[in-house]
């Protein structure tokens, strides 16, 4: 699969990089293991895992929309007769996807925040140690 990182970022911002920014570079499996360690209450643990699954599902949906968009944009870029208007159409399409994804992600984020203690939150989402991508 073509991983159009820059193009994805240009179109979908934080949702275009193909990874789960919300998980801080961790996989859903790693996050789930982290929840099991940090949240002792079984019921809350299940609720948290469910919310993380919602985020993961949202990203999977987003990924397929992103893949379709990238395919269409690359096909348009390849053609010599693509008009500016056609690019505007892609931009509008991307902006709608992006706005919806941001809203959904923030909805789940703040729902989870209400359910977890400060200590649990800090453990699950530690601050980054260095700017992402700086190697």
């Amino acid at each position: 699969m073509l991983i159009a990182l820059l193009l994805g970022w240009l179109f979908l911002g934080g949702h275009g990089g193909g990874d789960l920014w919300f998980f801080g570079g961790r996989t859903p499996h790693q996050m789930s293991a982290e929840v099991a360690k940090v949240v002792p209450d079984k019921e809350l643990q299940n609720v948290t895992k469910y919310n993380l699954e919602l985020i993961e599902k949202e990203y999977k949906d987003l990924d397929s929309q992103r893949a379709r968009l990238e395919k269409d944009v690359l096909a348009a870029l390849e053609r010599h007769d693509t008009t500016t208007d056609q690019f505007h159409t892609f931009q509008t399409r991307a902006d709608v996807i992006n706005a919806n994804a941001t809203k959904k992600m923030l909805d789940v984020r703040f729902l989870m925040r209400e359910q977890l203690s400060d200590v649990q939150w800090r453990s699950l989402f530690p601050p980054p140690t260095a700017p992402h991508g700086s190697e």
């Binding site: 991983i3 193009l7 934080g14 870029l77 010599h80 923030l106 601050p127 980054p128 700017p131």
Partner: protein, 157 residues
């Protein structure tokens, strides 16, 4: 890709070519791997350089080649600046997200700030693309597009 080394169907006369061929393919594969390991900034630089070399090789008209190279240089600048903005944004967002007291308006404001930069860069990238189309024929663009695709997809052309 099956290159058929040592396959029973290989003609004896070609056997002596096997070692150099293997060396060539291994070298190319290593080069490809090395390119994939390049940090994002260097990868963009390498892809931009490859695109400019393609212009020199495929565009016979000096004036149009110069116009193309100018657009490509500006594309380079746009993308490198964007990469730096993107890295800052990712860091800020993770930092903000990790704070239990972060409010929704704070997160939304940072996302909106990055979106404004992103939309401006995206518009400029498409302008530069249009400028490159205007400076090339359909046939020439067919030869140049794989290089632009590589630049925009962080991949090899």
């Amino acid at each position: 890709m099956n290159v058929g080394f040592g396959s029973p169907g290989l003609r004896p006369g070609l056997l002596s070519l096997q070692a150099p061929l293997k060396f060539l393919v291994v070298t190319l594969l290593c080069a490809a791997c090395a390119n994939h390991r390049l940090p994002p900034k260097e990868l963009v630089e390498a892809d931009i350089e490859a695109m400019q070399e393609a212009v020199a090789a495929k565009i016979p008209d000096a004036q149009r080649a110069a116009r193309l190279n100018m657009s490509i240089s500006q594309l380079r600048q746009q993308l490198l600046t964007f990469q730096a903005e993107r890295d800052r944004f990712q860091f800020d967002l993770l930092e903000l997200n990790g704070r239990p007291d972060a409010t929704r308006p704070q997160l939304e404001a940072r996302i909106e700030q990055f979106d404004e930069q992103r939309v401006a860069t995206r518009a400029r990238v498409f302008e530069l693309h249009s400028e490159m189309l205007a400076a090339s024929t359909a046939e020439e663009w067919k030869a140049l597009f794989p290089y632009e695709r590589a630049v925009l997809t962080d991949s090899e052309h």
